[in-house]
């Protein structure tokens, strides 16, 4: 879609290549907003009855109190789910997942991890994801699906009892939901750091090229 806006001149001169199509960019930033809302409201909910011996600082929670946190959580979940579903459908339908995320081979991952640790991992062609990226992106999509399924199961443990049964029982679903949040937060830190280290990748996610 974005390529439609490229002028002839540009095409002729630099053969500017669209790295991230418009649908990916839009859904990426909608997801980023939805995730932040879900994390901050989720921390508020967690604080009402902590699973572990710590609570999240109040400044990093959304909603003011449990009731407000729940309202945010169950409002932003629609944004997250609709956007996420659209992303999965488009990703499969356009072949983007097949082309960009697969294959993921153990030897490829090992090779790229070693290259990354010795600062030899190149980012010359941003249209091709290296194996570390592929693994992280595919992994976080799975985590995203898991957190939505455990969340829906906890939201409707009777109507959607099969979702809860899939994960064992209600308390187990709650722990899995929490660990998925932790995984998403860890991903977020690494993801943002790496994007800042390779600014042109960030530019590509904003303006497309």
């Amino acid at each position: 879609m974005a390529s439609l806006t490229v002028t002839d001149e540009q095409v002729g001169a630099t053969k500017a290549k669209v790295i991230q199509p418009a649908w990916v960019r839009i859904m990426h930033w909608v997801n980023a907003l939805a995730m932040i809302l879900m994390i901050l409201s989720g921390w508020q909910i967690y604080n009402a009855s902590p699973l572990f011996g710590f609570t999240f600082p109040r400044e990093y929670t959304l909603g003011g109190w449990l009731g407000g946190g729940l309202l945010w959580h169950f409002a932003a979940m629609w944004l997250l789910m609709i956007n996420g579903l659209a992303y999965l459908v488009t990703g499969f339908a356009t072949g983007r997942f097949r082309k960009k995320l697969f294959p993921i081979t153990p030897s490829g991952v090992l090779h790229d991890v070693r290259a990354a640790l010795t600062f030899k991992l190149g980012h010359d062609d941003l249209t091709v994801y290296n194996y570390v990226q592929r693994l992280l992106y595919a992994g976080i999509i799975v985590v995203g699906v898991l957190i939505v399924l455990t969340g829906l199961g906890m939201w409707k443990p009777v109507q959607l009892y099969y979702l809860v049964a899939l994960f064992g029982d209600y308390p187990t679903a709650r722990y899995i939901h929490f660990f998925c949040m932790a995984a998403i937060c860890a991903f977020l830190v690494i993801h943002v750091l790496l994007a800042l280290l390779v600014p042109k990748s960030l530019r590509a996610m904003i303006i497309g090229r």
Binding site: E59, G64, W65, G67, L70, L71, Q159, Y170
Partner: protein, 260 residues
């Protein structure tokens, strides 16, 4: 019927309180949705100030109403909450309220009467002895709190739908509205379809014993298809009505349907 002054038989009260205190909402924190600090964090993160508190509150209220409709739509009146063996019961079953255990209503079973009102044929009040004579059933189900914790308990009592039939309630009405003896006057509306659910129960016993004070003596409404706050304790009256009369927590922002 003797007055019950015990809290939970066989349970060290101090232990129980210690357990429940961490799950108790902090009253001073019960500010609505848009706490300044938290929105500040969001503004910082998004770099814009579109989410000013009053329009955010309005939006969240609308979405919550939408969520009520979604939940009513997917509610299956025949879907049963999972039941458990006796060995799965959580011990001690936690006491939880917006006040301390010592402030729990101390109802005198001899004087207590269940008042019945609204769209019903027979508005007679019921004594505890009369209610105890109704057929009772037992369920072992999971109680899920809005705070996220859950516990499995055993409740015995009369299915609410049998009682509603007995008093000639208009079951086409929208709600059964319960009022309770808790301090500050607890109340909560229950939508009719949930009220008629086979597992919704007027509970008189916990774990085979007369309902202890901590769990809502003399009568609790057990609704395993709803979050805990929609399971009122210390019930004093029920009214069958088409009006949405609000509720203690519902009015403060908990989602009104809060179904499971």
């Amino acid at each position: 019927m003797a007055k019950r002054s015990f809290l939970i038989p066989g349970v060290d009260k101090r232990l129980l309180i210690k357990d429940s205190i961490k799950t108790m909402p902090d009253v001073t924190r019960r500010r609505f949705i848009a706490g300044g600090a938290s929105l500040g964090a969001l503004t910082l993160l998004t770099g814009c100030d579109v989410i000013d508190s009053s329009s955010a509150e309005e939006m969240l209220k609308q979405v919550s109403k939408f969520n009520d409709a979604v939940q009513a739509f997917i509610f299956n009146p025949d879907a049963l909450a999972p039941t458990f063996p006796e060995s799965a019961i959580t011990k001690p079953f936690p006491f939880n309220a917006y006040y301390d255990l010592d402030d729990a209503p101390d109802v005198d079973g001899k004087d207590w009467k269940l008042e019945v009102g609204g769209l019903v044929d027979n508005k007679k009040s019921w004594t505890l002895d009369e209610l105890y004579k109704l057929p009772q059933v037992t369920q072992i189900t999971r109680h899920i709190c809005v705070e996220g914790w859950s516990a499995i308990g055993s409740w015995t009592g009369t299915p609410l739908r049998d009682f509603l039939k007995l008093i000639g309630a208009d079951t086409r009405a929208k709600y059964v509205w319960f009022q309770c003896a808790d301090k500050d006057g607890y109340n909560s509306p229950l939508d009719m379809r949930s009220a008629l659910h086979p597992q919704t129960q007027m509970t008189f016993k916990y774990a085979g014993e007369i309902l202890p004070r901590a769990y809502g003596f003399p009568m609790k409404i057990r609704v395993p298809t709803k979050l805990g706050f929609k399971n009122p304790k210390y019930v004093v009256s029920m009214e069958v009505t088409n009006d949405y009369k609000g509720g203690y927590w519902e009015d403060q922002g908990y989602n009104s349907f809060s179904g499971s």
